[in-house]
Subunit: 384 residues, 2 copies
């Protein structure tokens, strides 16, 4: 058991290991509720899953959401959120929250970042002000937010960098993780928060291995797998994932960061992943790309002009129970706010329901059947 | 009783007439539900009250909503809506709907309109196509929409036009109303729809009188009062309203079109008005202007940065029960969809609750007290 589990209410129960694949059924227990795994986590970047109330999220079957340290630090600021009782109270969401460290956003969304052993300097995209994230700083921010699962600061190197760069980067990430853990322990005063580690290593087998081993050596209650949401060929991505999962301990949850489509979820679950987040279902919803078992339905298409059917005849979501494709198409073209909302309700419900069915398949020793039945039809899930 | 009442389920029950003012308590009974009056009707221009589901509207106390013939004719088209079972089913709203005739929008939103005795020609602001509204056409559109209360085509002359122009205009509107009524009767086949008349007359006493008398002569189940939402001095507006209400029969509901603020509602109710619609609470909500008993609260203000209080301590709406001013300010600056939604829930609840309290005051013979207690604090309700 890691340091955090001794001091916080956080438990991972592994119910079942699939016989033929790496797929596993588990449950993460926190004070704010249990999370059945494998699980999809909707992304609530700015302290709201876009267009959704917490009640909508619960209706759609959500167990845990993700929030962004980077965005909430810049606006409204973690001190404001802390003064209002923490992020859960601020946004009226009582179930678990996972916060990222902001590292990914620093490298992808902000200008002028300078990486030093101490941390990373960047320019706020909101007001251009100079900001600095150190391992200690991001732990402090997440303490203020009060998230249930915290992430350490890591460097996310851009795709295509050299072996040498990747090696230096993963070593920096490991040193930062050590400092994050120390800061976490120093600031642990009975809060129910835990800190995960993040394994990186780019697209190099030996570096994936080195990063996973170095991360596991720090004995944390859960492990994230980073750097695999960038555009590489799927088979290489899954090779890297397999190497990492082979090293991560079986008794800790594994979180594949920022991936991806339902088809990706199946492939990653088969390699032993338990947790997923992705903006795809929410972003696609706002663009009128709706997830179904038969692939993506583009609501703007002329064929739906007077189509009385719901998005999916077999879907039980609020949107499918009450609205036609024709109405959703109308709202989309009229640029109505309700368009984003009804579409998001459907896509989040779809993802949660997809994971529920996937869990059921593992429970029933039918993961292989679920995989072959769904992998093909889901393949175009990212096409928006 | 008017023609419509004989053929449709539509009844207006007048419970009480205030002793000191023109204020009255009534109930409109339709097959889709009863409407306690005086009533505020949220505006659902494009077949949705912006950012709200029907469930949100009901939670916020809405009894009836308004939809726009002009917008729904242009997109998605009334035939599409009819083929899907009518507007109620299309938008999943089971309570009464009032549709305007589109006349106001033709004159305010579209280009190149040409008025002839036959009707009015205009250019679609969506695709520039040439369109034509006749009295018969707007009845046909509203038959397809299936609204519970329909409006006749009227001309809305711009503010400041001459006595001569206004006289010609109201006579045209009367001729159109006669044709609307004939078309209504010709197409009445057991639908539960009624047609109101619209009294115009600009800001000329004698023309207000002539228009009201001519309209009442056509014996309709309810009467709208048009042309008073434009920017004239309040006291002149209320003089015109008083003249019109003095002529309208007591046993029919009176609807003041497109007005206005809570303070306006009090003044108009005091002169005998029963029904109101206005985009103010929904539009203001999206601009962060929130209605309270103490006037408008601008959520963007710096003072709310870490304010843990709800918009109003005495408000029972979903937003006030769960969210702080600080959170609402954050959502506003982050341009989150949830900002429009939570703010709209509050403003519609406020308006409905304001009308509920106003009705209670009439019931309790306390309208004068309600008026003096609220008129002052409400005076800045339009300031957004």
């Amino acid at each position: 058991m890691g340091q955090s589990q001794k001091e916080s209410m956080f438990e991972f129960i592994l119910f079942k290991q699939d016989k033929n694949t790496g797929a596993r059924r588990g449950r993460i227990v926190t004070l704010r509720g249990a999370i059945e795994t494998p699980v999809f986590m909707p992304v609530g970047t700015q302290g709201t899953v876009k267009a959704m109330t917490p009640e909508d999220l619960i209706d759609a079957g959500s167990q845990i959401i993700l929030a962004n340290t980077f965005h909430l630090h810049l606006r409204p600021g973690e001190e404001v959120i802390a003064s209002l009782g923490g992020l859960h109270k601020f946004m009226h969401w009582e179930r678990p929250i996972l916060t990222d460290s902001g590292g990914f956003q620093v490298f992808s969304l902000s200008e002028l970042n300078k990486i030093t052993p101490e941390g990373v300097e960047f320019k706020s995209p909101i007001d251009g002000s100079l900001r600095f994230f150190s391992p200690e700083k991001v732990i402090g921010i997440q303490r203020n937010l009060g998230s249930d699962i915290m992430m350490p600061l890591d460097e996310c190197p851009p795709p295509g960098v050299s072996w040498e760069y990747t090696k230096d980067s993963l070593e920096l990430t490991l040193r930062w993780l050590k400092r994050c853990k120390e800061e976490f322990q120093k600031t642990q005063r009975g809060q129910n928060q835990v800190l995960f580690g993040i394994a990186q290593g780019g697209f190099y087998e030996d570096l994936r291995r080195a990063s996973a081993e170095g991360t596991v050596a720090l004995d944390l209650p859960g492990y994230s797998i980073g750097g695999l949401s960038v555009g590489e060929e799927k088979n290489i991505t899954y090779d890297m994932l397999e190497i990492t999962c082979g090293i991560l301990p079986k008794d800790r949850p594994r979180y594949l960061m920022g991936v991806g489509t339902p088809a990706d979820f199946i492939s990653a679950v088969a390699r032993g992943v338990d947790m997923f987040d992705c903006v795809l279902p929410t972003r696609n919803a706002r663009n009128g790309a709706l997830l179904t078992n038969e692939g993506v339905l583009k609501i703007r298409n002329a064929e739906f002009r007077d189509d009385p059917r719901p998005i999916s005849e077999t879907c039980g979501c609020y949107t499918c129970r009450h609205y036609s494709r024709a109405y959703l198409r109308h709202l989309y073209y009229a640029k109505e706010i309700l368009s984003s909302r009804l579409n998001t309700i459907h896509n989040i419900y779809f993802m949660n329901d997809f994971m529920r069915r996937l869990r059921q398949a593992i429970d029933d020793d039918k993961f292989d059947e679920f995989r072959s039945a769904n992998e093909q039809s889901m393949a175009n899930g990212s096409d928006a």
